[in-house]
Amino acid sequence: MQKAAARRPFPWHILVFLAPAVLIYSLFMVYPLINSLRLSFYHIGDQNQTSFVGLSNYVKLFTDPNFAPFFWNALVNNIVFFIIHMVVQNSIGLLLAALLASGGRGRAFYRSTLFMPTVLSVVIIGFIWQLILNPLWGVAKTMLGWVGLESLYRPWLGLESTALQVVSLISVWQFVGIPMILFYTALIGIPEELTEAARVDGAGGWQTFWRIKFPLILPTVGIVGILTFVGNFNAFDLIYTMKGANAGPNHATDIMGTLFYRVFYGQQLQLGDPSMGATVAAMMFLIILTGVLIYLFAFQRRVQTYEM
């Protein structure tokens, strides 16, 4: 055994094949990430001189009255944004996937149609929905009028109490295709024999789904959950498109991404602050890292994966 290993030449080809990916990944992902984390421990002065300040940027982010309220507000909004996606997007995705997987005519048509918004540009999505919900010429008001509910119309996107929820639901509408397709592929991968056996044993459709199919697709549920989590805490584009970097009204739609953008790049008369921006980015990284670790250790290792 040892002899054989010693005689075998070093597998250079593996290095050669790995090199391009490792190089590009390190150069464009790992290095900037580490450098950005490093920047969060520095302060940049008026004359562009940098000085090491330890954790004081983090202390400032959590305690300074100019940063802390915005940070907590953005974090809470981001959690609401995530919960809405988890509850609405993923359950609708599961429902649609179950409907699609149960067969029926026009399946391919619905599958592509429901997936379509996902591939559209977020700028188009933001623009279309702003027009639909527009108080001046939006169809939302007219359509409510058709069923006599015009009085229910509100300028939802502009109200502090509803703006975040509406923006979240628009994002749900756009991305519902992704959990749907993932659940769908998992569901159609379940062998016919299992469901048939359940039916023979006297299980109804509801029971078959929750007792047989759902446990079998649990790994996919985990993947969808973690994808949603990472996507939501990195989200920025839709809110920036619809509400601008100020994420109004009164920062009601401010999430981590928009907060980072404002702090890092500055806006109008406010100058950007790269080191504080890097601190916000580092917090986003930490939050996502924690989430992913919880998923890896608390979920993925425990969930039973069945060979089918």
Partner: protein, 445 residues
């Protein structure tokens, strides 16, 4: 309605195209190209090399004007210099410019925002002092005030233009309803009441969704009449006046009183929505500034007029916000400082002033020599300078240097006041507390 939507979507598509074009041009900055391009030299003198200057700007709306009118006029006189105008979207300009300057890829000429944003660039050594630039003598102290160091020693941008705030109105609508142009607060609200009672038009085309309209087109538009222009602005800097004082509370109270006259659902109405609402003839009055002239004259099918910000009561002195808005400076790292200075001198010349002010009606020259304007609305705006005292937006000089940023805060609270989320008194309190947290007025100021 469908037509409006088509127009709006076309505009958006077009602006996206422009933005992407701008991005493409800036991706290959001239600074990185070899200065001499033999095949591009068309000038007869073989010894002179043709240089390319790139201008960084946020005015992507003006791209065609620069390309068709301004740059050809300059190149006709200076055949050895080729100028490229490379704009970025306004909201992204400051961030993009800072990043480009730090990375050494910014253009040779930099369009300057007024006051602290550009001052910071000068202090960081990105902009050159232009004290000795020929042509600088064409500008007075007020014109230069937005691009000068606090001690008044170094000027670092050539002033290009200012914008004046006021109200646009639909003349046809006013004639139909038998209304006359309001000059005082009382008359203004009477006119609004009359338009609302008639019901044909939305009295006031404005929304709060983009936040800045509330501050820029509301607060800074009518405010100077309450805080007496420069007097009030300087008092804020000196610390002798506060945002909790009556003039400021009254300005916010006025804005709150506008809300019932604004379109239904104004909380979600954006800036382009209000523009279309007005130019499509559905609204009677539009609070804004002179920069709208060219787009409005193109889009509106009705007769349009303007009136000054209303006075608190008849007989008061009128004050207008004649805001020094745009200037141009030289990147300290430029490879072609001589060519850049030639261009800047030309920008300081009366020839440029006349060309620019007429190509872009609503942007008024800051040069000492009077400029003859051809556009009637622009003429009327300019005539206000004779009748009224000029001032600039009070958040721009010095007061937006710290955190929380005064300008951003004014956007937020002004929108909240109109939305009914804050009372004028609360707004004043929040702004003053924020300012007090970092700003200590010096007695010498």
């Amino acid at each position: 309605m469908r037509k409006i939507l088509t127009i709006v979507s076309l505009l958006v598509a077009l602006s996206m195209l422009l933005v992407s074009c701008g991005g493409g041009q800036t991706a290959t900055p001239a600074a990185q190209q070899p200065p001499a391009q033999a095949e591009a030299t068309t000038a007869p003198a073989a010894s002179t090399e043709k240089v390319t200057l790139t201008i960084d700007s946020w005015r992507n709306d003006d791209l065609t004007i620069w390309q068709d009118k301004i740059i050809p006029a300059f190149e006709a006189k200076n055949p050895n210099i080729h100028v490229v105008f490379a704009p970025t979207a306004p909201a992204e300009y400051n961030g993009v410019l800072n990043t480009k300057l730090e990375g050494g890829t910014a253009g040779d000429l930099i369009t300057c925002r007024p006051f602290d944003a550009s001052l910071a660039l000068f202090q960081k050594g990105y902009l050159t002092s232009l004290n000795d630039l020929p042509g600088m003598e064409n500008f007075g102290d007020v014109a230069k005030s937005a691009w000068i160091t606090d001690d008044g020693k170094d000027v670092f941008c050539v002033p290009m233009a200012s914008v004046i705030h006021g109200f646009f109105y639909n003349k046809d609508a006013f004639d139909k309803l038998g209304l006359t142009v309001p000059t005082t607060r009382e008359e203004f609200f009477k006119v609004l009441d009359a338009i609302k009672a008639d019901g044909t038009y939305v009295p006031l085309a404005m929304g709060t969704a983009d936040l800045w309209e509330s501050a820029t087109m509301g607060f800074q538009n009518i405010g100077p009449n309450y805080w007496k222009g420069e007097e009030g602005r300087k008092a804020l800097i000196a610390g002798t006046a506060k945002f909790t004082d009556a003039p400021y509370i009254q300005t916010w109270a006025d804005l709150a009183a506008w809300a019932p006259y604004m379109p239904e659902g104004f909380e979600a109405v954006k800036y382009p929505d209000s523009q279309v609402l007005f130019t499509s003839g559905k609204a009677a009055i539009y609070p804004t500034g002179s920069w709208e002239i060219s787009t409005f004259e193109k889009d509106a099918k009705f007769n349009m007029g303007i009136f000054k910000p209303y006075l608190p009561k008849a007989g008061d002195t009128c004050y207008i916000s004649d805001h020094t808005d745009i200037a141009i400076g030289m990147n300290a790292a430029t490879k072609n400082p001589e060519a850049a200075k030639t261009f800047l001198s030309w920008v300081a010349s009366p020839e440029f002033a006349e060309l620019y002010a007429n190509a872009l009606p609503g942007f008024f020259s800051l040069a000492k020599q009077p400029v003859t304007l051809t556009d009637p609305l622009a003429q009327e705006f300019q005539s206000w300078r004779k009748d009224c005292q000029s001032t600039i937006r009070n958040s721009y000089q010095i007061l937006s240097r710290g955190e929380p940023n005064l300008e951003n805060e004014l956007w937020r609270v002004s929108a909240d006041v109109i939305n009914g989320k804050l009372t004028p008194e609360q707004a004043g309190q929040e702004i003053q507390t924020g300012l007090d947290s970092w700003y200590k007025p010096t007695t010498s100021q």
